[in-house]
Symmetry: C2
Subunit: 401 residues, 2 copies
């Protein structure tokens, strides 16, 4: 069902970053569901994590271990969330075994989990597989890792970028997973990005947070913020050194943002049951927060999402969703709505020249833009979302069966 | 698809309140889609209206005409919302014709519309029908009116109550419509309640606002606040006089609240595509606003709603939704979750004695309670909601076709 999304053909290896994958039958047997990323000594790691108050055990552990991190251990099929103290102990045990296999200290391994909430990890199957992961490491393992971390995803997600730093090439490669419970809040489901550049941890952290705002923090599938969201950036220190004072820093941040946005859009394109990829472009706001509030209110409206599924230009639902957004002193008089280049509403009223067939033609496409101008300022924000289909209901009604 | 809801058998007439209905083929021919309520001279009318910033034309007009109101004119099939100045003029024209038919001034008639947004009212078909409404008035017209105001409703909704005021009987009867775009904000879709008691307008207004908080403002189907929500209370002045200083005032407000809550729950029972009626009982909150925020976050979670549709006790989704609610300094440690009498989570962890089969048995029922204790205070709030089914998607994908 993914909208204009296919598996990445090639993902550029990043010197100093090696992946291993293995099957552990965590939810179902027969496919890789463990992935391990080993970074060269001296690498720096930054991360942003879910703001869900009930963050899962692995999130708490990973967040505390950023400073000396050397390895990232990921499992799909089970989120290890809502599992209390036993779940916390399970995550620690996984890290200990991974550390032993890699010759590291346990607190140099960061755990990540994604999948069903509220069930214990099957350590009896996972531990033997983790013990063997150290033998499988490869710099060309990115695509296999992208597959191993999938849950309801239908397509593995990854992308690469290169940046020239004073004539030297720096590589960025990232992978991501996620297609439901997607409304990242300062983070996303799971995304892992590495670069061979040499970057201090604090600088890498700043670059990652800047990139998030216009990528993973600008998407929503269903408004449900996961307990396990995490987006990690790793700099292996094998290529050119970079810092915010360098002329090329903006180029690097732009490439990181661009890469993260491609991964974030891939998550929406592969949203559970999605048949449409919709860009919500809100402008004319007093500030960006206001623009984002309107964009997310529309993105979360079940009535707008079902109209998009139907390809029905029922713009009244868009107007109604905009009208209930938390915007103070909001008047309809300045509002304009357009679907791609079809202007529908101007000054709060349907335009005389609006023909429904034009809007229906836009909404028959697999992807298009809903542009909303609030007519009260200069701030703007863009959010990407998907439609609400029978298939979304089926996937989430049958998820555990 | 309505959950444990059937048409009211009998609705008690209210002296001084007469309904007329008629077919005007507003959306489809062959059934009544106009309803007119005429009140005796001296009646008082109070109303609460949508807080959607883009309130429809009839809402603006009705809100301004409460003081001298004598008649309420309702149409289904078209919301007359997003129609700009022409839509405003259309609503005024309908009121003028109703006033002429009843021998009233135009500004004594309040218009109400519900249905599709963004289309002009078909005045050519409506006006002739309105002109004849004055001949059809009857005190026994409540059920016919309940049918005439339906849109995607499958069951007409109405209820009656009586209160003894110093040995004299006061009657309250109300009707409501609504099954989608339901997340009332200080009002509801459309509800009309009348009593034969004699009550000053300001007192009636206070009673109505108090009743709303625990009825229509405590339900949600899909989080989409309508542009046309209105709940009206009329006191015809034909029976005992009542004021807040009277001993029986609390009895009257309790009966009004109870009646409004029955109508509000009827809206949720008849929610678009609903197969479950779910009571969200949130307790242990620091204040009621916090309890409501958690209840509505869970009520709006597509993942919780699809799990309810599936009858799947995937309580991790409940926990994840609670965790993303806008509650400051929120810790999982004190949280408890139960489905009816099946305790699942205590102190933020799954209970050792929890058996999934017990929770599955609760969720197999057509209605049950999800109880969430936040463990940080004494405040509580109850919200009623429905599940998210294939049928919800079908109804809203096909609504205009």
């Amino acid at each position: 069902m993914a909208v204009n999304l296919s598996a990445p053909g090639q993902l550029a290896p990043v010197a100093g970053a090696r992946w291993a994958t293995a099957p552990a039958a965590i939810k179902k047997p027969g496919h890789d569901d463990l992935a391990l990323l080993l970074l060269d000594a001296g690498a720096t790691v930054a991360g942003v994590f879910t703001r869900n108050a009930f963050a899962a055990a692995p999130v708490h552990i990973a967040r505390a271990r950023l400073a000396g991190a050397r390895a990232l251990l990921v499992n799909s099929g089970n989120a290890n969330a809502g599992t209390g103290r036993p779940g916390h102990a399970d995550a620690l045990a996984c890290c200990e075994h991974a550390a032993a296999a890699l010759g590291l200290e346990a607190d140099q391994v960061l755990p990540f989990s994604t999948g069903v909430i509220g069930q214990r990890l099957p350590l009896d199957r996972m531990i033997p597989a983790i013990d063997r992961l150290g033998d499988e490491l490869s710099e060309t393992g990115w695509l296999a890792a992208a597959r191993a971390i999938m849950t309801t995803d239908t397509v593995p997600k990854g992308a690469s970028r290169t940046v020239d730093i004073d004539g030297k090439r720096v590589v960025l490669t990232g992978i991501a997973k996620g297609s439901g419970m997607i409304r990242p809040d300062m983070a996303t489901m799971l995304a892992f990005i590495a670069t061979d550049a040499t970057i201090a941890q604090a600088d890498l952290d700043a670059a990652l947070r800047e990139a998030m705002a216009r990528s993973f923090n600008s998407i929503s599938v269903d408004g449900d913020t996961s307990t396990n969201d995490a987006c990690m950036a790793c700099a292996t220190g094998r290529a050119a050194a970079l810092s915010p004072t360098a002329p090329a820093w903006r180029d690097f941040v732009a490439a990181l943002t661009d890469l993260a946005a491609e991964l974030a859009r891939a998550v929406v394109r592969d949203a559970e049951g999605a048949t449409r990829f919709i860009t919500l472009a809100v402008g004319g706001a007093r500030d960006e927060a206001e623009a984002r509030a309107v964009a997310f209110t529309v993105a979360h409206s079940p009535l707008v999402k079902t109209a998009c599924f139907a390809g029905d230009p029922n713009w009244g639902r868009i107007l109604a969703a905009v009208g209930r957004a938390p915007v103070p002193d909001f008047s309809i008089d300045g509002v304009a709505i357009a679907l791609d280049d079809v202007a529908i509403v101007a000054d709060g009223e349907p335009r005389a020249d609006y023909a429904e067939a034009d809007a229906a033609a836009v909404m028959a496409q697999a992807e298009y833009t809903i542009a909303i101008d609030l007519g009260r300022g200069d701030a703007a924000s863009t959010v990407w979302t998907s439609d609400l289909s029978y298939e979304y209901v089926r996937i989430n009604a049958e998820y555990r069966s």
